[in-house]
Amino acid sequence: MTELAAAPERRWSIGNLEQRVQRWFWRRSRRRAALSLSLVLFIWQFGATSAGWLGYRLPWLGQLPPPADVLVAWLDLALEPSYWLSWLASGARVAMGFAAALSIGVPFGLLLADFAWFRGVAHPVFELLRPVPPLAWVPAAIIFWPTQELSIAFVIFLGAFYPIVINVLGGARELDVRLLQTARSLGASRWQILRRLLWPAVLPSLAVGMEVGIGITWEVVVAAEMISGGGSGGAAAAGGGLGFLIWSSYVGGSYPQIVVGMASIGLAGYASSALLRWVGTRLTPWRESDT
């Protein structure tokens, strides 16, 4: 009867993957997404080429490189390893900063939630520093840290750290008193309450905090790369990251490439949020029925 402890498999199998992909693709929301995206592309193309159609440039849209040019620039770039190295550089920075934010932010949030004396000491400092935007830290970070890479990672860390801590703290505060009383009356020790009550209670809001945090991370990495000149790679752009790609495209006057850089960041951010959402639902299987 030892298997009783293990819940039956809830995981999906590779076997029905094709079906699942098809179902995913044909859902109504996907069709709507496809429609809205193509509409945006159409308006963009129309507006960007308005000089030819209408004889004058539409404001704003007329300044844009048309999507077709962007696509061509994208294909060109995709053949160059430096483009993919930019992805790698920015992705590695985000991953490093985010991992640091997670591994420091979660214990910090739990300490704030569970220990009144720690909250008394640390919370005022935390609240004082929180409104300082991560980008305002860039000069200080450059001075603090020996390498530019570390300074960028630090600024990214700050971007994700605050939302993670705030959400962990908020989740812990929402823990129902009756659950605490029940756990105590069932004989749980202080450590067990932390591990078996506080931790799972915090997970749903931690998932939210991670999603918010990763978004800020991408905002920050781009700006930090623009400001710091892209780290060690410099003008070679390879080590510069996607932010530096945008900046150097601007400086070099290659406007389609700017848009490629922007779209790349959009994709990267979307993918990382989707990944974290997936992780979040894995971490909180009891909430599957809610959605």
Binding site: L4, A5, Q181, T182, A183, G187, P200, A201, W286
Partner: protein, 280 residues
């Protein structure tokens, strides 16, 4: 399987219990001079006007807070006395009104939680017994479901199974069926009586529902309005096992009527007193 009935335990004796708390700077007497006995294995139902302090009494027995005067005994042991650090214990398990199952644990894990955290038994053994209790509660199919996936009636049954898992001397139920609809409620009553017949644990049951009180209880303690003390103790002499057939007997109706008269008298007094206080 430990012998549950070999020696009857779980007799409660409340002796002139007083409990005050401060609210907005003023000291309010919640319980004053409250004395009554609950015999081991009895179902004692406590009814009284809302906010009279019944739940305060229950929380004191559970060990969530101390008392200011008097004593509460469980069998030969002093549970509560003034100046004594309140102590929660697995011998007195509370089932709350809105339910307090751990949402992130399956039913089985919820029920097995107590013995596992106490490391009293091996995990496998705890799960096995939890599965037995859940099966007895009619939930053999829902072992691995999460509480959020179940009806509120089923959740309450899981919760009672979790409490019984501790082999408690006293089961403390604070309006456990309040949020349930009438149909579910009647099913739950019979389920509780069935469980109680199988494992005769002392039950301390708070409710507003007099029909429920008389149907379930060996004695119904009708409380005065704040401060709370027994106004009248009604012995329910309807033999067990009780089934729904009891509900249409004259004796049952008579007892419910008697309880209703006592409660409404008390409620009216409380209402008048409240009014006076308000206009003074």
């Amino acid at each position: 399987m430990p012998a549950l009935t070999s020696q009857r335990r779980g007799a409660l004796r409340l002796d002139r219990v007083v409990k005050a708390y401060t609210s907005g700077g003023a000291s309010v007497l919640a319980v004053d001079g409250c004395s009554f006995d609950v015999a081991a294995g009895e179902i004692c139902v406590v009814v009284g006007p809302s906010g009279c302090g019944k739940s305060t009494l229950l929380a004191a027995i559970a060990g969530f807070h101390g008392i200011d005067a008097g004593t509460i005994h469980l069998d030969d042991r002093v549970l509560c006395a003034p100046g004594r650090q309140p102590e929660v214990g697995p011998d007195r398990v509370v089932v709350f009104q809105q339910g307090a199952l751990f949402p992130w644990k399956t039913n089985l894990e919820n029920v097995a939680f107590g013995p596992i955290v106490q490391k009293r038994v091996r995990r496998a053994q705890a799960f096995e017994r939890a599965a037995t209790l859940l099966a007895e509660a009619g939930l053999a199919d829902a072992l691995h479901a999460y509480p959020g996936e179940m009806s509120s009636g089923a959740r309450r049954r899981v919760e009672i199974a979790r409490a019984l898992m501790m082999d408690p001397a006293v089961l403390l139920l604070d309006e456990p069926y309040r949020a349930l609809d009438a149909l579910t409620k009647s099913v739950m009553h019979e389920a509780l009586l069935e469980v109680h017949a199988r494992r005769p644990v002392t039950v301390f049951f708070i409710t507003h529902d007099l029909a429920e009180a008389v149907f379930l209880g060996d004695q119904v303690v009708i409380m005065t309005a704040r401060p709370c003390r027994p106004k009248h103790v009604l012995r329910v002499d309807i033999p067990r096992p009780r089934t729904r057939a009891v509900l249409s007997t004259p004796r049952y109706e008579e007892l419910v009527g008697e309880a209703a008269a006592l409660v409404s008298e008390e409620a009216r007094q409380a209402f008048d007193a409240g009014d006076k206080e308000h206009w003074a």
